[in-house]
Symmetry: C2
Subunit: 501 residues, 2 copies
């Protein structure tokens, strides 16, 4: 394989990475093994996976720096044993211990001498359940592509086995696939622009910065607000905290229907409620509303892989106490932003996105981020699979995205759908965002207050919150392979329902 | 607490740290809990330790950079939960899984926004045994001080409980203690020298470099050899491999007595044998003998804490096939080197050490390290406690030092004594030193070939090798608290002896 240059966007994730600001994303999946397989399942899985010694693109690519530019090259000494890691939770192996482990591991940089991914198989959850935490550098993959790749690597049936993610053919989505395509992609066009402007800002695509600056100015001019300074917009440390919980998609849909809002808007509204509650408790709620940066995938518009994201900025109306009025204000804002975005040409959308989503762009364009942030927090909604998925017969129960905190953006909320659930992942600097776990309760409260305001409380009681600590029911009414009797997970669900009843 | 400047040596470990070259050391201890305490022991230990929320110096100190100099300051937001980490091995929890975990964790940088230490309590070894892996930045502590601190933090009796390391008073040995002493220490003197020369090489003690250069030249002139280029003297990656095994001190003493060599010389000789075997297998044995850098502690000469180390360079005679002749050549070389070192004034010894042990000094002075390395490998012999030690009643069985690999020094061998054992810890860049585990067999073979050459094989059979995987007997004939019957560890030893008999 020949070396292949990274696009400016992808390169930015390598350039801007520091020990305080790792630039990888991850997915945390929780599985129930087939009934009767017991603790052998993970052992057998590891045995099988350990034999898949060959990685296919992009899982065999490592970054190399040549003449100031980043390239992907094949790792000729690929060592699976380094990337595939069998670990265990200490007893009692609750979600608490799992999140504690993920918090720790997510703060660690990856070895740049190797392909930038690590796959953890985590045993020790109660009832034989296990988890995978798969970490991939953002230079290699964006969140949407990662979620798709995860879904594709799993099976739609409990009877089907697939090779592990790194041994599957992802040619269509990995970054080197572009060379086989006929027309130059959007990233190639941007790359050419960037090259033209490189003298101005060595090592960085300044042509992009110029394009995007005009884009952002336009956006800013069109926006009736500016993000206030907030406790989330500070320099961060190298340690992370991760909190996660699943919520019922049906509940959010019901709220949306009753309030005339999309699920995305409802998601933003309950995040806004949680952020407001958190800042109120810290006595640090700005008088002006927080602004969220919401990545918008352009994958629908192109057939390209890699990082293809634009953004919209959403007024979270955190200054409004009334939850329904807050939701309405959010709907109004996102509608305006979407109209603006859809009128942009695609190239400008991309540039607009690049400068906003990458901290490079952020730092370059905004400059005075600390005192005049363009936005306060990233809230990202990643589409996920609706069907129940299986890993060699083990049923995938829960899916949580783990994302990136950066300087001046100490908190990231990423939400990924799976079946009838939305998995909320809160990734934050452990030092500057205290008591992140409380955000889970605040989020739940945000749903409840909207249900109350809309008179949905009676209906909602039947589809109550499903906390990560007890969530275990399958997304659809499918049974895992060989499941003859109720799994421990199902028992837990039944017990909880009984308590609520 | 006021801020306190780091000495130039200590600062060097912060300056030279990169993602490929972390600068922390660690100790891996393996314990047998008191009989009958079962798996509750680790749980109870974590409960107790989790309450020790306050860290005393140096465990409460974080580094801050001011005007180009590093200082220690107290972490006002000290968060024990970040530093104290309860983890578990996946089943079957062999030494293999333990070393795999340590290899992984040792490659991770620490968060510089916090005190530079992490303490892992590792459950899941067979028979209820557990391990601790305690990682401390070399800027905070040197290996000898660390070993002393570890020993002091444990009890001499199974009935005595002590607070955990970070909650104990280490005033005499931590770096800020110096301010209370009356005469300026050696490091203060060197620091003053360094300040005088700072203009020349900003941020670095160039006065020291000047001093040491003359020292090294003198040493080089006196040495009849120069280190050859070797496979260990290459740029390294950010991933580590750690291999460890214990050997009987009595065996090494017997060899030393028979050959007229010190235990240190015998240690060097068996390392030389292992290195020779490794390089022969890789078809990369230089024709000229490898040179080891052997740190020599100056703690005996001063009452100071911090990093106080000089070095001697030892010809490992790896070009000599005959094991006895090889040992004799090593003895000859170290005797000469020790004579030279003992005739140096203390300040020059220190300077000599600083330039050699710190990669800064190494890089500054040697310059052309890759083609003309001053030495090929670091072999460090750290004195350890002779008495059996206990952690809240759990008996300390094995002690292994985990050290630092740097660019052009891809392998470090550190040996720490405990009771009648020597714990060998091999720390290496995982990429440039392949198949590190084989070094354990080669080391064992190195002992055996000397025993054979010296006609000690019959005697030696009664004190056979004790591999880490099965080593479990207490260093002396003391019983752990409440041990009424044979512990699983003792059973294992008996079984092994029975097999050998």
């Amino acid at each position: 394989m020949t070396m292949r240059a990274l696009s400016p966007t992808d390169s930015a994730f390598l350039w801007m990475e520091t020990r305080n600001q790792p630039m990888h994303v991850a997915g945390l999946n929780i599985y129930t093994p087939p009934h009767g397989s017991g603790t052998h399942f993970v052992h057998d899985l590891m045995q099988r996976w350990s034999k898949e010694l060959k990685a296919l693109p992009p899982f065999n690519l490592r970054p190399v720096l040549r003449m100031g530019l980043w390239y992907w090259e094949e790792d000729q000494e690929f060592e699976l044993d380094y990337h595939l890691r069998h670990v265990a939770l200490p007893q009692p192996g609750r979600i608490r211990e799992l999140l504690s482990m993920v918090s720790r591991v997510h703060g660690n940089l990856m070895d740049r001498n190797r392909p930038l991914w690590e796959a953890y198989v985590i045993e020790g959850l109660p009832g034989g359940r296990f988890a995978t935490y798969i970490k991939i550098h953002h230079a290699l993959i964006d969140g949407v592509t990662g979620a798709k790749m995860m879904a594709n690597s799993l099976a739609l049936s409990a009877d089907e086995d697939k090779p592990p993610m790194w041994a599957q053919n992802h040619q269509r989505s990995h970054p080197t696939a572009r060379k086989n395509q006929q027309a130059p992609g959007v990233l190639e066009q941007l790359s050419a622009l960037a090259k033209a402007g490189r003298e101005l800002l060595p090592g960085v695509g300044s042509g992009i910065a110029d394009m995007a600056r005009s884009g952002l100015e336009e956006t800013a001019a069109a926006m009736p607000f500016q993000a206030p300074p907030s406790a989330f917009n500070v320099e961060i440390s190298g340690s992370r905290r991760f909190a996660a919980q699943s919520y019922s998609l049906a509940r959010l849909k019901r709220i949306g229907e009753a309030a005339g809002a999309t699920v995305n808007d409802v998601t933003l509204a309950i995040c806004a409620s949680a952020l407001r509650a958190h800042l109120l408790r810290e006595n640090a709620l700005p008088k002006k509303p927080l602004v969220a940066m919401v990545p918008v995938s352009l994958h629908g518009e192109t057939s390209e892989g890699g990082n293809q994201v634009s953004v919209l900025l959403a007024n979270l109306a955190t200054h409004i106490e009334d939850p329904l009025k807050r939701l309405q204000r959010i709907v109004q804002g996102t509608t305006e932003a979407k109209n603006r975005l859809s009128s942009m040409p695609r190239l400008q959308k991309m540039a607009h996105g690049i400068t906003s989503i990458s901290p490079m762009g952020f730092g370059l364009v905004v400059g005075t981020a600390k005192t005049h942030p363009q936005f306060n927090v990233v809230i990202s909604n990643v589409p996920g699979p609706r069907d129940t998925l299986y890993l060699n017969g083990a049923r995938l129960d829960e899916v949580y995205p783990v994302s990136i905190a950066t300087h001046y953006l100490a908190l990231n909320i990423t939400i990924q759908g799976y079946g009838d659930k939305l998995g909320f992942g809160y990734t934050a600097c452990r030092r500057s965002v205290p008591a992140l776990q409380r955000m889970l309760d605040y989020t739940e409260h945000g749903i409840e207050e909207l249900e109350t305001a809309l008179g949905l409380t009676t209906k909602a009681a039947t589809v109550r919150k499903s906390k990560a600590a007890v969530t275990a029911a399958p997304p659809k009414d499918k049974k895992p392979r060989a499941a003859k009797t109720a799994t421990p997970a199902k028992k837990a669900t039944k017990t909880r329902k009984a308590v609520k009843a």
